[in-house]
Assembly symmetry: C2
Homo-oligomer: 233 residues x 2
DNA sequence: CTAAATTTGTGCTTTATAACACTGTTGTCA
DNA sequence: TGACAACAGTGTTATAAAGCACAAATTTAG
């Protein structure tokens, strides 16, 4: 199975979305300098407060990015899927990591030394601009999320989380089930509420025929209603 | 007075912190292409949902950046002081503005056409990198703020707001009064609470000898305690 | 394959904070 | 100068959501 996993792994050039803006030299350089790392489910990839050493690209699996808050409550900032980058913000800002990243399921990560990454950023303008764009988009999303999480009520926050998950991970073949199975606790940490309230609110949504549940599998039944709840707060 | 104002105004090259990474050609280009705009107190500079047209640099005054939330509640994202840039995130992300900016006091703004700004970003790598750095720092701050606003209690949120204001605007000559006078409502919108609760909590801080108040003038008396409250939540 | 640990689900209680309804104060401008 | 608006302050009530306790179901591990 491990073998199969490896053979299925896409090379860096297919997973790195900014590959095409690199010069042939830079590409060759990258091919020789990245390393591959495997993480088991729940294994930590990097931790809040640590010095960043690598820019990372998720090759396979799913990871969650979160911050430890007050009194063991944690806030999931975002969930990543293959092809997405992480761990580079702290490198650029010259800070320590301000989030922790753990493998949500068994995952493969390509790592690029911070110095290598910085060197390309500083020499290839198109590459730099791509990350500027990405960061600009993320910053907008982060500010929007702040208001969503602080001002909306429980139902609105959970509705929003479900819509974000669907948008990010898509649906399974049945065209309804969201392609990621989260524990109630993670769902709560994503929506800024307690586990009990996540459970209760999910049940309410089922009663209101807005979603259907089968364990951790969640289907969106009445999308329109869900959007409405998410907008109203 | 208006005349005095103008004569006091620093030219673009002194206020634009990234000026030194520009080529002589770019500098000349900028000198000829920026425009100066004056805004009265409470006047809107740009509005959420609008198409961005200019990158802006605050030359004098103070402005607040905020998002309209659920039911006329607004969340102040940040307060700017002269020398800081704004309005460029939406240009880079190719989105409409997701925040509204209004002059908090009479302010002067240098504006640079979006196309001009983008052109320099795309041709001058050092310039691009400077904005990448700035955005990386802001993104970290935004995520930290999300957790602060969602998980801390009222006292912690207000304490944090006061510390941020002091850090950003500094102190007056007396070495204690924070150099910005906000209404209780703005203080509330900064700390995600209602105006009544901002008033009440400020009074509590005064009773606890943590701060001193004189109208809108706020002095931090017991900084250590304030930091402690802000950390504990 | 059983025991332990984790996750899910539910009801009850408590509490933080919003909402509301006032009163007093200050500032503005016609 | 007097009227009106905006702001500051306070008490009371209402309520959303946290906290807690516990049972049932499911997963993990020895």
């Amino acid at each position: 199975m491990a073998k199969k996993h490896v053979s299925e792994l896409k090379p860096l050039e297919e997973i790195l979305t900014v590959w095409d803006v690199l010069t042939p030299d830079e590409r060759q350089f990258l091919r020789n300098s990245y390393t591959v790392h495997y993480f088991k489910k729940n294994e930590m990839i990097h931790c809040e407060g640590e010095q960043p050493t690598h820019m990372m690209i998720l090759a396979s699996g799913k990871v969650k990015v979160f911050k430890e808050g007050v009194g063991s409550r944690s806030q999931i900032i975002r969930m990543l899927k293959p092809g997405e980058h992480f761990g580079y913000r702290a490198i650029i800002a010259n800070e320590t990591y301000n989030t922790t990243v753990t493998a949500f399921e068994a995952s493969t990560v390509y790592m690029l030394k911070a110095a290598t990454f910085l060197s390309i950023l500083r020499h290839n303008n198109a590459f730099c601009y791509r990350f500027l764009e990405e960061m600009a988009t993320d910053l907008g999303a982060s500010d929007a999320r702040t208001v969503n999480l602080t001002q909306k009520h429980i139902r609105g926050r959970l509705a929003e989380a479900l819509l974000i998950l669907r948008k990010n991970y898509g649906l399974e073949e049945d065209g309804a089930t969201i392609s990621i199975y989260l524990s109630r606790e993670d769902l709560a940490n994503l929506s800024n509420m307690t586990t009990s309230n996540a459970i209760r609110t999910l049940s309410n949504f089922v009663n209101d025929h807005i979603i259907a549940m089968d364990g951790r599998k969640l289907k969106i039944i009445d999308e329109e209603q869900l959007i409405k709840i998410s907008k109203m707060g």
